[in-house]
Point group: D4
Chain length 253, copies 8
């Protein structure tokens, strides 16, 4: 395919339809983008409404405004992660069209509504303290066009709460398990479902929870098979990866 | 659905078709299996040839033989991971029908040949030292009925090697990236493909590689999106999770 | 026993005393609770006045109020851990009947007074800086109906202070040892008493105390036998476990 | 009581029944033993058959033989932990009366048979690789006169195995949960039983299992209440602490 | 000597000069203090003016005032470490006679002036940022009656600064070396002097300085012999240990 | 050369041009500076305008003012690193001639303009959050007389951005790569250029980024050759080392 | 330049001197090598005799032989690092022309003798135990055509040994400092020389040396400026980076 | 003093008694040795019989023989640390006059018998497994002319063993406390004695003992004052530092 693309440029040169200089510029000046690594994605995004993502942490309100404005020219949907309420307020002064989700601390603009999948992503949390990260995953997954089912506060300390909703979890195409403290929920869910499981350790806990390290190690060492893991508190990453998998599966329906 | 199953047992009791004692036994003695957590899987496995897995490390040859023999009665396919050549030799004295894969250090018995998927799992490694883990992932994926494409030794120190085969990688449904030392290959591949990426850190390296910890941290913190991670040297886990995703996608073809 | 319970339901179905639908609902809709994992506890709690526990950290005042109000309908005693004074103030605006213990930072409501055990739990601390954690353990133990004896500030730097009160410590059914810095008190007490010892490392100290890690390692590696350990600063957990042991012993009196 | 003991010595001196020199020697030469810290235990041990314990690791066969021979003069029962089979063989050349338990790697001599408790200690393991540590706990508990029920290989990857035996676990006075890898079993069991739970992390696993660190952190941070923890692979310590608790409870029967 | 003391009590009993009850009380009620572990120290302190020490961190102003007032009744000198300026202000409202040293953050009251040693303690720092810790060591040493020579800001980046003052350092009885960042100064000084060296790592630095861990490791692994180490930022501990050594040496003059 | 210098002093003594006392003082009082370790540098600095550096962190505004004023007497150029804007404001009240660079948080005074090199130092960053550290490196390098080319925000998540500017990077004499999170950019650049690469891990990221530790390990373990590393966030150190290398190369032009 | 190269291909196509297919193949099949990332290097190597490097660790003798034979066809010089003597013996059975350096554990074949630089790389070690790593750096640097001066066993415990040879060190273009234990030598040398310093921590030491971690942290946090660091025991990396810098400087002579 | 030495050389030059060239050589060629940093020590050693020390680990038998032979020419006493029995055997083939101490794994040659101090160094260990390190400290201290009292196996698990010998410990000038596992003995001893205490963590233990890290942290964070610490298993360092202190004190007798 790539070969085909380059071949066409050569044909155009050979047929004198474009100059040697222009052809050279296409190959060189635009870097490797012309060879297809990123451009195609961009174009698909424009067609489908899949959002552009901005990592908000460590950026000033001014920087975020600048990047969003540049993006909006291309008419993309927008998702800004990790924006605290104060910074969100400042950004929304200049860009009132952005919606701020208080729980997940994300800024969103859905210019081109995205159709939702039939298959579902189940988002399962151990406790109520994992809410922020869970919503970061949920809002991300929804922004990328996924149907999401939220099953919160079903940690293993009262495992009957989990079993009461196990059918919903098992019906999902992909399961995201979010847990802090010891993170054992990932192993239990992993042993009960046959769909792929993405585990998110959270920094909930104290002492030897080591800001999520205990949960991370639990998840990486799970005796249940079929679990993969993302960074501590990385709800966005889990939602994004789950979306990729869910869309692969969706094509089958 | 589960409710339906229990309802049927009650109907049978109500209609005196089975005794109270038998019904009680079905619910209780078999634990929750009857409620569907594991049994269905087992039956599906029998039909489809998907293998049972034994974690070989820390088990004696005798223990492995015992477990395999018990499993064989149920006519399942078998996959034993992490068996060194000496232990494999001992096991094969009793069970010569098992095949030993020298590179991945796995014992296999494919009694019911599994059909291969059309969609592919790409397994990409940074160096030749990652071979054992890569083959553990590859052989696992193949045993679970996946088509696998191996793209080895394309680490970022010579990034042109990676670009030379990028089309094959991008064509896969799922990509497994395996790297030790600094593990940067996962980020680079993650930035170039749109399919889900599972990263496997390996214990290749010395000094501050900390037996795979450096690669693990790299992969968990990847600036590329859509990457999930498994334990250090967990080729099996990556192959198994990739298989789950690939089969979700396969239904679409 | 469980088998007996299920058998009774089957008998009722068989005798047409309850409908198939109702029986199914009992088994299924209520999850596994009906099979006794949690419900029995709840009922026992109601009878005995043993409190329900809420982990207050990471929950808003509103969330705590909501949970407490839901619990109060069931007439349970209440224990909310890790509530700072500001949050406690907010909660008590809506729920003035809750008592706030300033030192242990707990909210309590003892609706059904709990009888105290004859046997005692001794709570021993190394320094005055461990007071908050010690009181968290003490108040927890008392809320669960235990007699508590407080022996504070007897760290090994002046070991004669410990020996002066060793008889009281040795008279207890269970001993909780609470220490920060190097946590050596646990080993010394462990070598002097014959009752079970629960050690609580605290985050008191600086530099290589690593927020309680030094004390934790000391306690896990104690050369004295009969010591078990809980998380850093987990006074509640120690009080709760000690209560379980003390009540086992109490039945003997 | 201690005061009483000292008072008696003074009375004897006052009544000239023992000399000043002899009394001085009793108080001083024997250190604080005479004041009761250890002697009473020793005597109780002799009466009850409770064994003396020797930590075998890091001691030569010669050293073990010497210590055992010294102890045997006092007619105590003997328990030597962490003796590999080679060293055990050497010790048994000189002390053939010692029994060697191959699985737990302990040397035992039960000269005075110990009566077993009515109440039970349940020992629950996640996998077969935890066997050595589990047996160290079990043999220790039995040597100290406890009835033990072994429930092995019921890890959370197949949680139905655990539920199939939950009644036996719940019937025990004390529960020891032994697990490597991610150690999630402790949290699940902790959420299902009301008796005290002692968790033992094992060094089973690889990569980020960090030789038991992952399981340890899981157990310390368990969201289930009533769990205390011992050092990695410390089966002996768990068995010993469980014995202390079980004997407290036993008095009640 | 101890034996002698007990013998005297027995003699007094034997001679009916004190009652059996009184003798018993002396041995028991006062714990082991009467056996001389702490009391003698206390008395020596009173005679010599050596101060009592209070660890101020984690104590409220009220607690410090209470402890100081109790101590003052015994007419001891006082040293309170780690008191920030705000807390010091509060304490001095009640106890204006206490002097507050702004740099070392210590409260002092020298009621009985202590004579200074002839031999000196040299306190050597790598940079000006180590000043607070250095002064904590210096003020402590002086409070305990030592002559101190301060040699600050002679880190190895400009090693000539150190050599310019090496004679003063070599003339001291004990040398305290205080350094953050990489802490190399301890090794260099350790290689140049023949007196005992106490090294204090400080939390000065950033990134991989890990709040003093880098300096601590440097000092523990020094290739120079004769160096011992205290906790990170433990200027007090270094000053106190140096004082002990210096007074041993002083007796020789 | 050094020998020559000392020989001259001896000659002066031998010729009675300076007194024995004066000669002794030159050798001794000034430490080893006279033997050339630092003085020559100072003199060269004066001639060339290369700045004196002050590490601003952990120093008060008053201390910085004092040190700068002492230096200004010698007419040196000045560079103060790690000065936050508040402290900078205070310093500039007394020393208004100092320029404050907001991004790199440095105070500068270039009294003797430094000529810039022909050869360039390329400073390459992964993201916009690395800006502060990048500018610390850039401003340092410029202050020491280097031509700098800034290539920011070319992280591997979108590797085509890097390739678009690879020619500029390859043209530089030295390359500084600055990256947080997983730091993979260093490996990719290291594999594409033949000039020496200095890698700077930054504390950008969260969770397992461990404040720069993940990036540091990546860089230390890079599979690309020719990369050396400095401390986390040490932009100054990278700029300074790069300057040393660039000046070595410059002599060749 | 790159643009020029692509332009030429277009010209050839435009002039029909090569076919569209051939041109396409040149651009695509060979990946980006044709665009100059690696090929030019390879060609330069052939001309200059600069060796190809093979990382020998984790490769079998057979794999090394295979890679070397493939390389020899291109007539390159060869350097194989980290080959233990047993493996070297096996390799040399097939490739007797390779020379094995016992100390650095490297295999070498210098087919095209490389001219040595005038400027020198000084390799300075703290102790004799650092010898292996030092020789790995030295042999690497020499293989790449550098003049090397070895200054071994001059650690700071006896700093006069270092000063005795400081002139030689200061005369070098680049200095490599190699030290284990606390690694303080890097800071001392860094404060005495004006050339770039590359520090190599070694795994020499025990206890808290943590296999080189203590030395690594020392070097990363050095208070001396102008020091960059490589991985623990990475003598090769230091030699290679030093060579790059030295050749930059060499052009100036 | 140093100034005096240099002044003399100048006088000799001034008086033409030595040539300018010779004077220059004295100052320069011999580095700083001539300025007295090491030479005086060497001479003192010769007079007093204080031994030269060789760190044996990581050195071959040949290297040790070479160094010892060089030293013997100067007629020094010799101490070689960390020599396993196999290596000792090889060394003693060439140097049969060396005595090998099996327990401490040291090679010794006392050519000039050293007088022993009146004051004592007490060496106190927690268990019998600490024996090797304790003897390394003891033999070192004795080789440097100290009287040593060994008090072994008095760990806090049976604290009465410690009290039985506390008088001997308190009578010593310096106390070395050696303990593995949790290392609590250091704190207990530190609280009971008034002499300086040097604590040595040992690598005895398992699991979270982390090869001595647990004991190290305990000792660094000791709530008892007057304790300084050396590296894990560094018996030599403790013996050496204790000797320095004891000799300071000895001068007083």
């Amino acid at each position: 395919m790539e070969a085909e693309k380059v071949r066409q440029i050569f044909r155009l040169v050979s047929e004198k339809q474009i100059s040697v200089e222009d052809a050279t510029e296409i190959i060189n000046n635009s870097g490797f983008t012309d060879l297809g690594f990123a451009k195609i994605d961009t174009e698909r995004n424009k067609r489908t409404g899949v959002p552009e993502i901005i990592y908000g942490e460590g950026k000033t309100a001014e920087q975020i405004i600048g990047i969003v404005e540049a993006m909006l020219e291309k008419q993309n949907n927008i998702l800004v992660t990790r924006v605290d309420s104060q910074k969100a307020k400042e950004v929304r002064k200049s860009l009132p069209q952005l919606h701020y989700d208080e729980v997940s601390e994300m800024l969103l603009w859905e210019k081109n509504p995205v159709a939702k999948t039939i298959g579902k992503i189940a988002i399962v949390t151990a406790g109520t303290s994992d809410l922020k990260i869970a919503e970061e995953a949920a809002v991300t997954a929804e922004a990328f066009g996924n149907s999401v089912v939220r099953i919160y506060d079903v940690g293993v300390a009262g495992i009957h709460r989990l079993f009461a909703r196990i059918d919903e979890i098992r019906a999902a195409q992909v399961v995201i398990v979010i847990a802090g403290m010891e993170g054992a929920l990932a192993s239990v869910v992993g042993g009960l479902v046959s769909s792929p499981v993405i585990a998110v350790p959270t920094s909930v806990g104290y002492g030897t929870a080591f800001n999520g390290m205990a949960a991370l190690l639990t998840m990486l060492n799970s005796c249940a098979t079929g679990i993969t893991v993302v960074n501590i508190d990385n709800g966005f990453g889990a939602g994004y990866s789950a979306s990729k998998i869910n869309h692969l599966a969706e094509a089958a329906k």
